[in-house]
Symmetry: C2
Subunit: 189 residues, 2 copies
C-alpha cells in the first residue's frame, strides 16, 4: 500500500477544515481518518489522542485569530486601530465560528503552547493600548476590558442572546466607539 507521509500539521489542518464544515461537536477521529484516507488507529502515529487534537486546534485558531488581528492593526493608531481590531476579530469569529469556539474548549492551563498563543493576542492589545498611557497596570486593565468586550459580545451573539430587533453590527460599533471615548477621556492627559 502506498504511504502518503502525513504529518501532525497536515492532520491538524484537515481537522480544522472538518471542524468548520461539520461543527466542532461532530469532530471524530473516524471521520478525520476517513478524510485522510487512513484508518482511525493510524492517527495515533501523529497525535497522542483526541485531547491533544483539541489543544492543537485551539492553538491553530488562536494563531489565525492573532494573525488577523495583527494584520488589522498595522500602521494604524489609537481609535482607528481599535476599531480595525474589532472588525477583524469579529470577522474571524464570523467566518470561522467553529474554530473560534475551539479556543474556549480547552483550559489554557493544560498547555504551555496555548498559554503562549493566548499571550500573542494579548500582546497586540497591550501594545496598542500602551499608546494611551505609560501606566502598565492600567494598560493591562484596559486590555482585559477590551478583550472582554470583544469575546463576550461575539460569544453571546453566537449563542443566540442577541435576538432583539436592533442591529448587532451597529451595537458592536457603538460599544467600541464608547470604549474608545472612555479611553480618551480617562487616559489622555
Amino acid at each position: 500500500m502506498p504511504r502518503q507521509g502525513l504529518s501532525k500539521e497536515v492532520v491538524v489542518k484537515e481537522a480544522a477544515l472538518l471542524v468548520e464544515e461539520t461543527g466542532c461537536k461532530n469532530l471524530t477521529l473516524h471521520k478525520l481518518a476517513d478524510r485522510l484516507n487512513i484508518k482511525t488507529a493510524s492517527l495515533y502515529t501523529h497525535i497522542s489522542g483526541i485531547e491533544e487534537l483539541y489543544v492543537l486546534l485551539s492553538n491553530l485558531a488562536l494563531k489565525q485569530l492573532g494573525a488577523a488581528v495583527s494584520n488589522a492593526v498595522k500602521e494604524k493608531k489609537r481609535g482607528e486601530a481599535i476599531r480595525a481590531i474589532s472588525v477583524a476579530y469579529r470577522n474571524y469569529a464570523k467566518r470561522n465560528p467553529e474554530m473560534y469556539h475551539m479556543i474556549m474548549k480547552v483550559p489554557h492551563s493544560h498547555s504551555e503552547q496555548l498559554v503562549n498563543a493566548g499571550k500573542n493576542v494579548k500582546a497586540i492589545l497591550f501594545e496598542l493600548l500602551s499608546q494611551y498611557t505609560a501606566d502598565q497596570a492600567k494598560v493591562i486593565c484596559f486590555s482585559r476590558y477590551y478583550h472582554s468586550i470583544l469575546h463576550g459580545f461575539i460569544s453571546l451573539e453566537q449563542a443566540g442572546f442577541f435576538d432583539d430587533a436592533i442591529s448587532v453590527d451597529e451595537s458592536l460599533s457603538n460599544i467600541v466607539d464608547n470604549f474608545i471615548e472612555q479611553l480618551e477621556s480617562s487616559l489622555s492627559n
Copy 2:
C-alpha cells in the same frame, strides 16, 4: 423492587450536582444513573436523551444566575445596582463554574425554553439601564455592552487568559467603574 418515583426535576438537579463535582465534560448518563440508583436506560423515562439534559442544565443555570442577579439588584439604583450585579454575576460563575459553562454549551436557538431563560437575565439588565435613558435602542445597546463585559471577562478568566500579575478582582471592579462612568457621561442629560 421498590420504586422511588423520580421526576425530571430530580434528575436534572442531581445532574447539576454531578456536573459541578466532576466537570461538565465528565457528565455521563451512566454516572448519573448510578447516583440515582437506577440503570442507564431508565433515565429515558424522564429525559429524551443527553441532548435534552444539556438543555435542561443550561436552563437551570440560567435560572440560578438570573435569581442571583435579580436578588443583587433589589432596592438598588444605577451605579450601585450595576456594581452589585457584577459581583453577583461573577460570584455565581465562580461558585458554579461548571454550571456557568453549561449555559454556553447549547445554542439557544435549539430551545424556546432557553431563549426565555436568557431573556429573563437580559430583562433585568434592560430594566436597570432604563434608569439612564428613555431611548430603548440605547438601552439595548448598553445592555449588550454590559452583558458582554461580564460574560467576556468571566469566560476569559476561567479559560486562563488572565495570568498577569495584577489582580483580577481589581480589574473587574475598575472595568465596571469605567463602564458606569461612561453611562453617566453619555446618557445623563
